[in-house]
Symmetry: C2
Subunit: 623 residues, 2 copies
């Protein structure tokens, strides 16, 4: 029996389902579709797994699998097969596999937070729009079309322009004639960047390009109103969940840099098309764009070197804001438009954090105020009296569900809330679907509840003496959900708890050291602003309970959603906000956390679960 069980485990392959981020085990004689369904991931299939409906298309990114079945050879071109495209109902893994499940093959969609603060900004766009009616050329007045255009603009509106974008110039003669010499001119600084029929909309695109998620907003530049918003998974996740694995991919093979750039651009261009389709607009009507993202995303998108980001002293290529022609950036909007990239702060704190500081308005607060955006990499800054100090914490993928046995991103079926009441477990899943795994906010809740129930102690050890604690593969784990027909067993293991302790210690250390470097302790904090998707869904009291966040009254915390995207939107509609962003960047001083003298000591102290404060290096117990 033991032998058979061992054999059995040998043919148990680990399947990594991307971009959802869920892993599962699969037998040699179990199809990918069957495996996905068993662990609760919804892959489309309507033909009863006969390989005829072609709705379960997936892509094998790496790993060995069965040879293509005749139905698969029929379903895909040779190139698609070479690229790893398969039918999930026909393919059997012969080893560990990493898969890409495209959105259209899923019955569920990932929850992507695009909502954030809706701050009101007085539109003061970089773009100006004019209605022009030109005189028609004649033998007596044979002026060049472009010169006639610029002269009319100057005479009628006092708008002096020195340049017409070369792509606009390439079509100006035919367009003016087609429009019967009446048109809409879009001007940026002293350059004509677009010509269209009169009247036409002036649309702007704001993008928050995250490591995992991309959020896009289509904005009416004339009034600053958001016309459409949408999120999607960054397709670069197939090259690694975190920044470091993507940079490593580039270091290993320079071609990967081009591929990562292309993937991001394709996603942004698809997003622009989709946002426009939603309001019946064309992408050519987008005449301005602002992009925020962390420094690595910024660099990969622009085709800048990322190698040096991964090596001490982690130098970014560029920190100041950039204005790049859309076509040079590869963005398919009005060809003459510019894309504005907000400034970066450092190699691991990017323009997205500038976006947060901009959107929340805290950069102008007296302080001390803490702003943090929790993710695989957590950006953290302390605002005090006009000065900003920023650090970056390597918090790891635990809050995105990574390195957690049943961890997953916040998609349908992810446990996002967890309570123990009267020794009974209660949980809530995304979309109230049957539980499939557990996402970041669920993990934080679970550890907090286990700690409060004294099932996990302050050192993070799971105690054996609870009916829901069991041992599997020599490891203790707490069973959140028992296996049922519609879903698998979901547990939190001892290793999961350790993983979370490291993640939360990294962040809490950052907060602590930032305070110390500025001569403060936690009691001085006036506000903690929490940005980002994870930060919005997190239960603050759970986060305080486990010691992820400082022990402050709940009203000290402000969850602001996708503030980075909101910052991008503000900069999109307001020139003043772009200047403010540059001002914030120049006021922000980056500090390398790991070189602080107290780093190691603080990291050890903050590893503890529970509520506490650290004042001048001494921990005050609060429980």
């Amino acid at each position: 029996m033991t032998i058979i069980s061992d054999l059995d485990s040998l043919t148990n392959h680990i399947i990594d389902f991307e971009p959802i981020g869920r892993t599962g085990k699969c037998h040699d004689n179990e199809s990918i579709l069957a495996c996905a369904n068993r662990i609760g991931l919804g892959i489309s299939s309507v033909c009863g797994e006969r390989g005829t409906c072609h709705t379960c298309r997936i892509q094998i990114l790496s790993g060995i699998s069965s040879e293509p079945a005749p139905s698969e050879i029929e379903a895909f071109s040779p190139q698609e097969l070479a690229d790893g495209w398969r039918l999930a109902c026909q393919v059997y893994p012969h080893g560990n596999c990493r898969l890409n499940i495209p959105a259209e093959s899923m019955t569920t969609a990932q929850r992507l937070q695009v909502e954030g603060l809706e701050a009101t900004v007085t539109p003061e766009p970089v773009i100006k729009a004019y209605h022009l009616r030109l005189s028609v050329p004649s033998l007596d007045d044979p002026q060049a079309d472009a010169d006639r255009f610029l002269e009319t603009l100057n005479r009628k509106y006092g708008q002096h322009c020195t340049r017409i974008d070369i792509d606009v110039l390439r079509t100006i003669s035919s367009r003016l004639r087609a429009l019967n010499w009446e048109c809409h001119a879009t001007v940026r600084n002293e350059e004509v960047i677009a010509i269209g029929p009169w009247p036409s909309r002036q649309l702007g695109l704001a993008i928050d390009l995250g490591t995992t998620k991309i959020a896009g907003y289509l904005v009416d530049l004339s009034n600053g109103r958001t016309l459409a918003s949408q999120g999607l998974i960054n397709p670069q996740v197939s090259y690694g969940d975190d920044i470091i694995s993507r940079i490593s991919a580039v270091i290993k093979s320079p071609d990967s840099g081009a591929t990562l750039k292309r993937l991001a651009l394709e996603a942004l261009n698809a997003l622009a098309v989709s946002l426009c389709a939603g309001i019946g607009a064309k992408v050519e009507e987008i005449v301005d764009a602002v992009v925020v993202g962390n420094t690595a995303m910024h660099h990969l998108l622009l085709g800048l070197s990322v190698e040096q980001l991964a090596l001490s002293p982690f130098t970014p290529v560029v920190r100041h804001a950039l204005d790049i022609k859309a076509r040079e950036a590869g963005l398919h909007i009005a060809s003459g438009a510019f894309v504005h990239f907000l400034p970066n702060i450092a190699g691991f704190i990017g323009a997205d954090h500038i976006g947060v500081l901009l959107a929340t308005g805290i950069s102008s607060m007296e302080g001390p105020v803490i702003a943090l955006d929790i993710g695989t990499n957590t950006e953290l800054s302390l605002v005090n009296n006009g000065k900003i100090m920023a650090v970056s914490c390597a918090s790891g993928p635990a809050f995105e569900g990574g390195h957690i046995k049943h961890g997953m991103r916040a998609t349908r079926g992810a446990i996002e809330r967890f309570r123990i009441k009267n020794n009974e477990v209660q949980y809530q899943t995304v979309d109230e679907a049957p539980p499939v795994g557990i996402c970041g906010s669920g993990i934080v809740d679970t550890i907090a509840q286990l700690y409060l129930a004294r099932i996990v102690d302050e050192r993070g050890r799971i105690k054996a003496d609870h009916p829901r604690v069991r041992t599997d593969n020599n490891e203790r784990e707490f069973v959140l959900v028992d296996k049922q027909k519609r879903h698998p067993t979901i547990t939190i293991t001892q290793r999961d708890v350790r993983e979370l302790q490291l993640a939360k210690a990294a962040i809490r250390t950052g907060i602590q050291l930032l305070l110390e470097m500025n001569g403060f302790s936690e009691k001085h904090i006036e506000q903690v602003v929490i940005a980002g998707a994870f930060g919005s869904y997190i239960d603050i009291s759970s986060a305080v309970t486990i010691g992820l966040l400082p022990s402050l009254p709940l009203h000290f915390f402000r969850q602001v959603g996708n503030a980075a995207g909101m910052g991008a939107k503000m900069a999109l509609v307001s020139l003043a906000k772009r200047k403010e962003a540059q001002d914030i960047a120049s006021r922000t001083h980056y500090v390398e956390l790991t070189s602080a003298p107290n780093f190691k000591q603080t990291f050890i102290e903050t590893n503890r679960i529970g509520r506490y404060r650290i004042n001048h290096g001494r921990k005050e117990e609060l429980d």
Copy 2:
């Protein structure tokens, strides 16, 4: 016998050899190579016409010919055959054909004038170069590479820059590290456009893009010295000899516009490579460029619409000067460099004429001074007291050897000088080679000599009573050169004389009307500046004799060679000259010649051969 002769003429195909511009007749059973050799065009062949050496490669641009022989199928790829590539020794025409004889298949090369005035301009380049040594980033000083670069530039040289070209930014981090943080920075306005090793040259490229010929100059921007110069045939000639036929090609098929653009760019890029190879430089060392050309060439190169140029009121897309990134223009020099296009004047007077006015310095003369650049289209301007009036004359292709029975461009074997002395003919050919045909300056000489010898009268009629006058195909012609073993018969026909009369009347009418519109007569002219290749080789006294040029003492004429190219070089090395060019453009008033009230009358009067002046509409005989 008559019938046979007719049949014979039916199988006599007209072969148009491009880019030389020579035509010849060919029998069905005569190879292209044999035909070319018979009319004196040197096409390479070393295998005795057995199709094995492949040196006689030619391209059939249009027309029907024999099916490819086995040796041709061996010599070319299917794509090449589809594109019309053949071996001249194996292909027999079955109808009129238009051929492209590439330079490498010719034993002779066309004379391309690249020399011009060598005016001395104080270099005041648009480009500045700096030697930078940067501090190396560390954990204590983790500044972004680009910010460190700009800050050093500002601190060390007071050179404030706001931008780094995106392509430079894409490589700045790896380059700075490879160069060990010491480099050469090239700055244009407030933008860093190139980074290279220290020291490195700052090269500039000046281009005169003519309808027929392209001249290129490689210039050291630090001292204004010309390091290399080279000419080549504009490959667009395969789409027509003159501007109008190329525009027609675009109107017929919009794809032709893209093809014409590509052909010109390929030629410019090849020219840059060749110029650089000559001095052991790389094209990436070229950090600035200036292009002049007529308006159609300018528009085609930039991908602007040309359709409207051919339709009244002949409106150019743009008149003002343009600065376009080299990569946007398609020019393979330093990627971040700009190409400066001097301003145009009108649809048929381009930046090349601005170049002439700039290089000759006449735009600042008191005047009245006439400047003309003779070609298929002749640009003509009158400078008077700070004002410039310009007209365009449709002089046609006669001066390039077009529409002339034995006409050809000024390549090896072209008769370029002709005299009748003591009733004996004397001639001089290009390279003193056996005569092949007659080029523009030879035609002017011949007509002048025939007029002085009273073989042609003032109305242009060839008289019958001369031993060298014969009748061929019912047309009188004067035999310049008798057929010999090494060369064919070369004649000037009655139709050739008419062709020349129309051409010279067009130009003389332009001069006359320009004077009249400004209240002058020819006797007021202080100087006539003649630019361009044809204008340099022309015998001024012959040109005056036939009435092409006004009857003024010879010292009133100044032949300045390729002044357009020289103007491009001046603008390349001097910002002041670019400003002056823009100033010249704004002071130049274009007049549509054909709408002048006296146009028709003057055109008829100036059709006459001989020396004369026209004052206030009255012709003064001077003979």
